[in-house]
């Protein structure tokens, strides 16, 4: 059973521990510093903190003793000559995703960044190399747009446990891309997605997955909370089906979580819409499907139901066992121990929550 939460927040890395069945805040690291992602590598217990110093740039820190001590390592950096577009040099603006490279590649680590570069380390994070072939994907400068942030960002990385050289990434206003050779070659995997904000909604690129999560028990089943709906693939991303709730509210949002034991069970945190990025109806709820997106239930018990403006960011919703947790843009943090059917408030005065991981 997972007993620890790592929260990346606007004002530091917050650790919560479960004691006697209740989550309690236990530790704070990097006080006052924005932590875009807090990540624990389940292979070796290493904790990673992606920092976004306003003045001093993005930094990467790791800890081998659960945060008792941290050391800074060189953050992924774009090589000489890399350009966002002609004449605009690429530099690392944000670290937006971290994922270990699998048990058969114990020293491999992936990091996704803004302005759109994916990096791989093969020495446990001491050094990172830009995946040039994805960075040089045809027409990237023209078809990768960036959305809420100024430039595209790699926010999702899925490493297939059956073949660790097969990796899917999700990139904001660019789409889903797949490699089967550890990053040497890439193909777009967005068939079936609809980009309603484009002249051609069926475009193979410029799609806007907000987050991509594969089902732990069946990695062929992949869920995407997209800018224009919720998508599910049952063929490893080769095709996507829109499973949004056409008559309900499960459509627009950022986060998605998938059950550890059921590829058909997933949770989303609906916002009103693209134009109104607030909790749906100014009331907070979590929607769950148990049948692969054919139907959705809405759960509100324990969640505020008026004057509510929270959005759940893409990395801030997580599930493991019967536990589901989420943090919001206004610093609320809720936990459930019955798969989202009822909720307890952990805190309503945290900093803006960027990420949460259960370990």
């Amino acid at each position: 059973m997972k007993q620890t939460l790592l929260l990346g927040t606007r004002k530091g890395l917050i650790v919560c521990r479960k004691k006697h069945g209740n989550w309690k805040i236990s530790d704070l690291h990097f006080e006052g510093v924005p932590v875009s992602i807090a990540y624990a590598d389940e292979r070796n217990g290493t904790w990673w903190a992606c920092l976004d110093h306003g003045h001093w740039g993005v930094k990467l820190h790791r800890s081998s003793d659960e945060g008792r001590s941290w050391s800074e390592v060189t953050a992924p950096a774009y090589p000489e000559g890399a350009e966002i577009k002609p004449g605009e040099a690429a530099t690392t603006r944000y670290l937006w995703s971290v994922q270990h490279g699998g048990v058969h590649n114990p020293n491999r680590l992936w990091i996704g960044t803004e302005p759109g570069g994916l990096f791989r380390s093969d020495d446990g994070g001491d050094n990172f190399q830009l995946m040039e072939t994805l960075w040089n994907y045809p027409d990237r400068e023209k078809t990768w747009f960036g959305a809420g942030r100024d430039t595209p960002g790699v926010h999702s990385i899925f490493v297939d446990p059956r073949n660790e050289d097969r990796v899917l990434v999700g990139v904001s206003v660019a789409g889903v891309f797949e490699t089967t050779d550890a990053g040497k070659t890439w193909v777009a995997r967005n068939k079936g997605m609809k980009a309603e904000y484009l002249p051609d909604p069926d475009s193979e690129v410029s799609q806007d997955p907000h987050i991509l999560v594969a089902a732990p028990t069946n990695p062929d089943v992949i869920w995407v909370q997209h800018h224009c709906g919720i998508y599910r693939s049952v063929d490893s991303g080769h095709s996507w089906q829109d499973v949004s709730d056409v008559n309900g509210i499960a459509k627009f949002g950022f986060g998605i979580a998938v059950a550890h034991d059921n590829p058909n069970q997933a949770w989303v945190a609906p916002g009103t819409s693209d134009e109104k990025r607030v909790a749906f109806g100014n009331a907070l709820c979590i929607c769950r499907t148990d049948d692969g997106g054919q139907s959705w239930q809405t759960f509100r018990k324990g969640l505020p139901q008026e004057n509510c403006f929270d959005i759940v960011y893409r990395h801030a919703l997580a599930a493991a066992g019967d536990d589901v947790v989420f943090g919001t843009t206004t610093g609320n943090f809720f936990t459930s121990n019955d798969r989202g059917e009822s909720w307890e408030l952990l805190s309503n005065y945290l900093p803006m929550v960027y990420s949460v991981q259960m370990i």
Partner: protein, 90 residues
Amino acid sequence: MPTVKFTYALRRFFPSLKDTEVNTTSLPDLLQSIDAHYPGIRSYVVDERGALRKHVLIFIDGEVINDRDNLSDAVKENSEVHIMQSLSGG
């Protein structure tokens, strides 16, 4: 030799930081020199291109430098170089 002085804000990351004399009159070399004293500090001041980070300021004898990309502003033998943060966010 030029003396480099630092904003207090950098002491959080480099607690031993103090006024440091450097044996160069080139700003890029000056940053390499202080990085040798305080490993890693250069990456807090400039990005991987060597350009000054957006919210960092360098003053030479009280004047803000002009060339934020290549740091070509002249440093004199007896200059005081301040590395500061620009205030942002009110």
